[in-house]
Amino acid sequence: MEKIELVRTIAEKYRIQAGQVEQVVNEVVLELASPYIFRKPGAEVGLLDNSCSNNCKEPGLAVQKPIATIK
């Protein structure tokens, strides 16, 4: 089932606006795949860091500083 179909079905069933249902779907899905979705447990999490701070330059490949470890 596609997401749009799921949202529509639930919205109709419970007579709630599709926008609200979609928000809930997004939250639930995110719980299944957490913010560290592409990381394995135990991996480090990084953050966008572009060490070129001058905004008239194009960004090169950013350097990541690990700041936390997933438990």
Partner: protein, 751 residues
């Protein structure tokens, strides 16, 4: 009329004269800053924010509506922006001009003039100086604001609402008077920066639109480098620590990771350096915010290096520029190399990553001098960025063009192409020798392959009604179109002229086209492709183009490439001038104004050679051919586009990506989930927030469209790629989602 009144009317330009008759009806001011063409999402309108904030403290917001063009507009192409501004119908529009948006803004001003003849146009920014004013006075600009614009801007508004009787004594501006430009006396700097309220704290800049924000802790610069438009800004003036603390707390308050650029001339010269670092340490213990800044390496000591590290500065940039003392004298820059190296060493010991700025083309530098600078950089294991000397109108060094034999580009970025000590040829050789370090090399890490084409099951189920498509498109600029072509070309319900118009009116600022089909079909489609691409480019001359061609049978010819390119009508734009110093032989996926990629199966490698096109080999990877990844070789091409079978395990992804990462070939991934995985795991970057609207057109001109954003990518990652938390790996995912959602929705219903 009295003599005094007559004198005022003598000095007023025509358009302001008409304004004096309608003083009390003026309602709307719009401030706008167009983005850099290839990094649109980093376009934070800080200058506009300061202007509005200063007007607020002058009490003007009670009388005049001042708006700042929203962050979403950064992704809008030329036609969309124009239509938006015309719909807003401001009385006054102010543009912030920088090297990267001057050409596009001037073009926009001309079009606005035609649509809104009564509009008053004001420009400011580092490029806007009296010499710029004289050059561009006939381009539809009414008022030029020089230097720090806050005071002048407020005085202009006061005049326009009748709070001020004279215009000719407003300091720091120039204005058009018939065919001439009148330049008023220079303006004064604002000594007490606290008189400018924070645009962030006032809510004038929507932080949720950006992943990186900019902060000034001060204005001014201690150096007087003559190439820089900031030089001569005199003593340092700082904002208050309390204000900066509140700004940072505000940025932290939404709980999102953000990158904060402190864009002072050199942060460690700020009177607030120590105290702000301690404040950051205190309020940012979880590292939610990361920081970067410029520093003066020769003024770094152990304490300041340690403070930068402990305050989560994940990168700093320092200026070396050249090691040639003669060149340093020519650019009026002081440099103590020993102290510089000491500062670098301290930063390195504390673990602060450093980038070292150098400039190619400085007056007095020869090829050998530049090589010496690079040798110095290598000997000390520094990480360089090479800038081409760029001399805008705001630069004092530009006035010494004759003395140093500069040949400067006629348009931004105003690169110096040669000097009397460095020929163009030698400059180019130097640049290409160190091409990876060039600030303007602008490698594309992501081809942004359209997502919509991944779900081919939608083909044939689409709509053939532009009104319905219009509803779906809503406020979303069209980011990509995918055109599926076969031999049967039979436009039906939708004519391609109407379709071309529809798309051209809604194109995004970075636009891509994927053409997919047998060569015979592609070649037969040139007629209507010409209409489509010409229309889009004519209405959007400053967008960037990524054209992807995937021939499925037959051989792509050079003449086809040339024809497709000829359909795109655009002037020479900023990115083209930026490219001028790179030879076309550099075969990388480098972001140009028009990028054309040709996809070919890996099995045909080394058989294709095309000019003005980047060849990308297509590679399908599955669990049965993993060992072949070891021998992939794309040295004869720009790179590889890798496609994995849906559901490929994370183990196979990791194994193959590790091999690919070790190769040195440029790799891209067809699937946006996999591209995201690659960028996070192997390139160690957090990619741009996904948000795009795409259209697919099949051979019957059925249209399929979809809006994709971050939520879609998560859904896709779970269902197509099974990237889920371990505890959910054995459940019926869809059923689980339905149950959970139903439960939560019922709670909403009962509230």
């Amino acid at each position: 009329m009295g003599e005094d009144t007559q004198n005022i009317f003598v000095v007023l330009p025509q358009i302001l004269f008409s304004y004096t008759l309608v003083l009390n009806t003026m309602k709307k001011v719009l401030l706008a800053q167009l983005p850099h063409p290839s990094i649109v999402d980093r376009n934070v309108p800080l200058a506009a924010g300061y202007l509005k904030a200063y007007a607020a403290q002058a009490g003007l917001l009670d009388v005049i509506g001042i708006d700042i063009l929203d962050g979403q507009s950064n992704r809008s192409g030329c036609k969309l922006i124009l239509d938006k501004l015309v719909a807003i119908r401001p009385d006054v529009i102010g543009f912030s001009l920088y090297l990267w948006n001057v050409d596009r803004t001037l073009n926009l001003i001309n079009k606005l003039r035609a649509a809104l003849p009564e509009l008053l146009v004001v420009v400011g920014g580092p490029e806007v100086t009296p010499s710029f004013a004289r050059l561009f006075a006939l381009n539809g600009i009414d008022i030029f604001v020089f230097g720090e614009g806050e005071i002048s801007f407020v005085e202009i508004l006061k005049f326009l609402i009748g709070d001020r009787s004279r215009f000719d004594d407003i300091a720091g501006i120039g204005y058009r008077q018939k065919d001439d430009v009148v330049i008023n006396r220079p303006g004064n700097r604002i000594e007490d920066l606290e008189t400018i309220p924070s645009p962030y704290l006032l809510g004038f800049i929507d932080l949720s639109s950006y992943r990186e924000i900019m902060l000034f802790t001060m204005r001014g610069c201690l150096q007087g480098c003559s190439y820089c438009s900031w030089s001569g800004r005199g003593r340092l003036r700082a904002f208050s620590l309390d204000r900066l603390r509140k700004e940072l707390e505000l940025v932290r308050s939404n709980g999102q990771r953000m990158s904060v650029s402190i864009i002072d001339s050199a942060f460690n010269t700020s009177p607030l350096f120590d105290s702000l670092c301690y404040t950051i340490k205190e309020i940012n213990q979880d590292g939610l915010l990361s920081f970067n800044c410029f520093v003066r390496a020769d003024m770094i000591d152990r304490k300041s290096a340690r403070l930068l590290k402990e305050s989560n500065f994940t990168g700093v940039e320092v200026g070396l520029q050249t090691t040639n003392k003669k060149a340093l004298v020519n650019i009026q820059r002081s440099m103590d190399l020993e102290r510089f190296l000491r500062g670098i060493r301290l930063l390195t010991e504390e673990g602060v990553p450093i980038k070292v700025d150098t400039i190619l083309g400085l007056p007095g530098d020869t090829s050998e001098d530049f090589n010496n600078t690079m040798q110095f950089v290598n000997e000390h294991q520094l990480d360089p960025i090479i800038f081409n000397l760029s001399l805008g109108y705001g630069s004092r060094l530009r006035k010494r063009t004759k003395q140093f034999g500069f040949r400067i580009q006629s348009a931004p970025p105003y690169y110096v192409l040669e000097t009397n000590t460095l020929s163009r040829k030698d400059l180019q050789i130097s640049l290409e020798h160190h091409v990876g370090a060039s600030a303007d090399f602008d490698l594309m890490t992501n081809l942004n392959y359209p997502v919509i084409s991944l779900n081919m099951s939608n083909v044939g189920r689409g709509i053939s009604d532009l009104d319905a498509l219009s509803t779906q498109a809503a406020d979303h600029p069209i980011r990509s179109i995918v055109i599926l072509i076969d031999e049967r070309i039979s436009p039906t319900a939708v004519s391609f002229e109407d379709l071309a118009n529809f798309i051209a009116r809604r194109t995004a600022t970075n636009f891509s086209v994927l053409l997919k089909g047998p060569m015979i079909g592609l070649t037969s489609s040139l007629g209507w492709l010409k209409i489509l691409l010409s229309k889009i480019s004519e209405m959007n001359p400053f967008i960037t183009w990524d054209i992807h061609i995937e021939p499925q049978e037959g051989v792509l010819t050079q003449s086809f490439i040339n024809e497709i390119r000829s359909f795109i009508h655009k002037p020479r734009v900023f990115l083209d001038f930026r490219d001028e110093l790179f030879s076309s032989e550099i075969n990388y996926a480098r972001r140009r104004a028009v990028n054309l990629f040709v996809y070919s199966p890996y099995s045909l490698k080394n058989t294709i050679c095309l000019d003005n096109a980047s060849i990308i080999y297509l590679v399908d990877i599955n669990k049965d051919n993993v060992e072949q990844v070891n021998i992939l070789d794309a040295t004869s091409a720009t790179g590889l586009l890798i496609d994995y079978m849906p559901g490929t395990s994370v183990d196979v992804l990791n194994e193959t990506m590790q091999i690919l990462n070790n190769h040195g070939n440029k790799v891209f991934f067809k699937d946006w989930v996999i591209q995201r995985y690659w960028e996070q795991q192997f390139l160690h970057i957090t990619p741009e927030r996904q948000s795009r609207f795409e259209i697919m057109i099949d051979h019957d001109f059925n249209l399929v469209s979809h809006y994709f954003d971050e939520n879609e990518i998560v859904w896709d990652a779970i269902f197509r790629w099974k990237m889920i938390k371990q505890e959910y790996s054995n459940i019926d995912l869809l059923q689980h989602i339905i149950e959970k959602v139903s439960m939560k929705v019922k709670e909403i219903g009962t509230c």
